[in-house]
């Protein structure tokens, strides 16, 4: 396997806060990589750096071999590197189907294509993916009226609609009813195996990450603390310390 995302010595500070310090990591193509760490350890900041949300202070970020650390958010997204937000973001005033249609990949879309209507196939894909995440019945409701968990599912479906190569998910199971988490894990795995999407997942729920990831990276205080196979990370005393120490 080859790596599709490569970070080398990435640093990012906010004033005096070193949110990320000299982070290096690799995301394997076609795999599921986990990113864990206590609250405030810099996970979301690292996602933001990767997708171009803010300029990084130092280091290099490569996607499919191309340096992307100087590129803008929409440009990176159009390369097929997509993220979901920790605080779910959907278009609340639109219904679910509209949310899906707006998420069609604009990667290949010229202005002329944009000035066309959505096709029958676009609608079918939207409905198919809504069904995939279990929101088919709610498809004509204003998405803002959905519950928090349903909005997370919708955001996930929107990301799939965009046909990304890599999907960065910021705490996909946070706020989801525990009885539904298994279903979500199953869907994430299918997105990876059936649609071939490489996943990089921030997660606090250890059961979820141990169940899914092939490789896990652990951050603490903005630094890369440990990385390796889930079972090794789980037993790593430094990781256990970091989590216990954070409480």
């Amino acid at each position: 396997m080859s790596s599709i995302i490569e970070l080398n010595g990435v640093s990012k500070s906010f004033g005096g806060v070193k949110a990320n310090a000299d982070i290096s990591m690799k995301v394997e193509k076609g795999g599921i990589t986990g990113l864990i760490g206590p609250n405030g350890s810099g996970k979301t900041t690292l996602f933001n750096s990767i997708v171009g949300y803010h300029p990084i202070d130092k280091g290099s970020i490569k996607f499919e071999g191309q340096e992307i650390s100087k590129m803008l958010v929409p440009e990176i997204a159009r390369l097929g590197l997509l993220r979901t937000f920790q605080t779910t973001r959907i278009y609340g005033a639109m219904n679910c189907v509209q949310n899906m249609l707006i998420s069609l990949p604009h990667r290949k879309m010229s202005l002329m294509d944009a000035l066309k209507r959505n096709t029958r196939e676009d609608y079918e894909r939207a409905e198919h993916l809504l069904e995939f995440v279990g929101l088919y019945e709610k498809r004509n409701l204003r998405s803002g009226s959905l519950s928090f968990g349903q909005q997370k599912l919708l955001e996930f479906a929107m990301a799939l609609m965009n046909e990304p190569t890599v999907l960065l998910l910021d705490e996909p199971t946070a706020g989801i009813n525990p009885t539904l988490i298994n279903g979500l894990i199953d869907r994430l795995k299918r997105a990876n195996s059936e649609f071939g999407i490489t996943l990089l997942i921030i997660e606090h729920n250890m059961r979820v990450i141990m169940n899914m990831a092939d490789t896990v990276y652990c951050l603490a205080h903005g630094e890369m603390l440990a990385s390796g196979k889930p079972e090794d990370i789980q037993d790593d005393p430094r990781v256990i310390d970091a989590y216990l120490g954070a409480h």
């Binding site: 929409p74 997204a77 005033a93 707006i102 294509d113 944009a114």
Partner: protein
């Protein structure tokens, strides 16, 4: 079917109205002007979430483009304005109508170009900053033009008088506005049904999310504003011919009158809807005419009170109010998946 009938009825009324009520010809023309500026304001304000207070810039610029094109086609613009009525300037009907036709197109295109340039400079601003930034552009433009002698400075500039019967000319002006208004309405109806329409809605609802999803946000914002500016510019050009003489601050770049009215129209009718700006423009125009006729002296107070009431109690306008009262009219339903499709 019912919808088609409704549209036919509206078009038919549009065509016969000036003949039925010839005394109200100018009123009806102004109503169409309001509809045009309200609909174009809503393209960016309501549909895209960029509340420009500077769209009047395109109106004023459209007027001046019309003047420069029509005069410049036959005479030297600088000499014409310097003479300010002193010389004898005549236009043959052919020259006049050629100037008119070219003016409309030139005003639209030039304003689109201006929108792209101003957009590059101001689309980094959000919310109230964008509103104030664009207002600043319109105010500055008015001041610059009123100090620019080549186009007549603060005195303003005069268009050639229309050839032929003046009553007929009024019909021509009415139908120019009406045709532009109908074309704009159909354009919006089409545009909002496309992916582009959905994309500008996404920018309105959450621009950061739209960027994160790879939407060409800047490109779409520029194109949307350029489209909007085109129609405002055309409306300005028609106004230039209608008014014959106009001044930069009072008429062309009239930030506190038309510049604000167009926003009020949209708020009244309902932002971000196709019919809202049209209905709002009609409501506003009727209200304005009534107060200007029956509450003279208090008309600005009445107008201010109306704005306060709308902003405080009916922020989403008539259409928004209907949408909350009758959501089913707007297609909000829970639908079970049909059984056969579930397999």
């Amino acid at each position: 079917m019912n919808k088609a009938l409704l549209y036919i009825a509206i078009i038919a009324f549009t065509i016969v109205a000036p003949f039925l009520f010839p005394a109200y010809n100018t009123q009806l023309a102004t109503l169409w002007l309001m509809i045009i500026v309200a609909l174009s304001w809503d393209m960016t304000g309501g549909q895209m979430g960029y509340n420009s207070l500077g769209n009047i810039f395109f109106y004023g610029t459209g007027m001046y483009v019309a003047a420069v094109v029509t005069i410049g086609l036959v005479y030297n613009v600088g000499e014409y304005t310097a003479a300010s009525g002193g010389g004898i300037y005549e236009w043959t009907p052919t020259q006049y109508y050629t100037g008119l036709a070219l003016s409309l197109i030139a005003a639209g295109l030039f304003c689109s170009l201006c929108a792209i340039i101003i957009g590059y400079l101001t689309f980094g601003l959000r919310g109230p900053y964008f509103a104030i930034g664009t207002l600043g552009v319109a105010i500055a433009a008015g001041e610059l033009v009123s100090n620019w002698d080549w186009v007549g400075g603060g005195q303003g500039i005069s268009m050639p008088s229309p050839p032929g019967d003046f009553e007929n000319f009024k019909f021509l002006i009415y139908f120019l506005y009406a045709a532009t208004g109908v074309a704009l309405f159909m354009f919006c109806k089409w545009l909002y049904s496309t992916r582009f329409g959905a994309a500008i809605n996404a920018i309105r609802d959450d621009e950061e999310k739209a960027e994160a999803m790879g939407i060409h946000t800047l490109r779409y914002k520029l194109v949307a504003w350029a489209m909007s500016a085109f129609f405002v510019g055309v409306a300005g050009a028609i106004s230039a011919f209608q008014l014959i003489h106009f001044e930069p601050l009072e008429t062309a770049y009239q930030t506190i009158n038309l510049g604000i009215f167009m926003v009020v129209c949209v708020l009244l009718g309902g932002k971000g809807t196709l019919w809202g700006p049209v209905i709002g423009a009609i409501m506003f125009h009727v209200f304005k005419e009534l107060t200007w006729n029956y509450f003279l002296g208090w008309q600005w107070v009445a107008l201010g009170a109306l704005i306060v009431v709308v902003v405080v109690y009916f922020q989403d306008g008539l259409m928004g109010w209907l949408a909350t009262k009758k959501p089913e009219w707007f297609g909000e339903t829970i639908e079970e998946k049909p059984v056969e499709a579930a397999q």
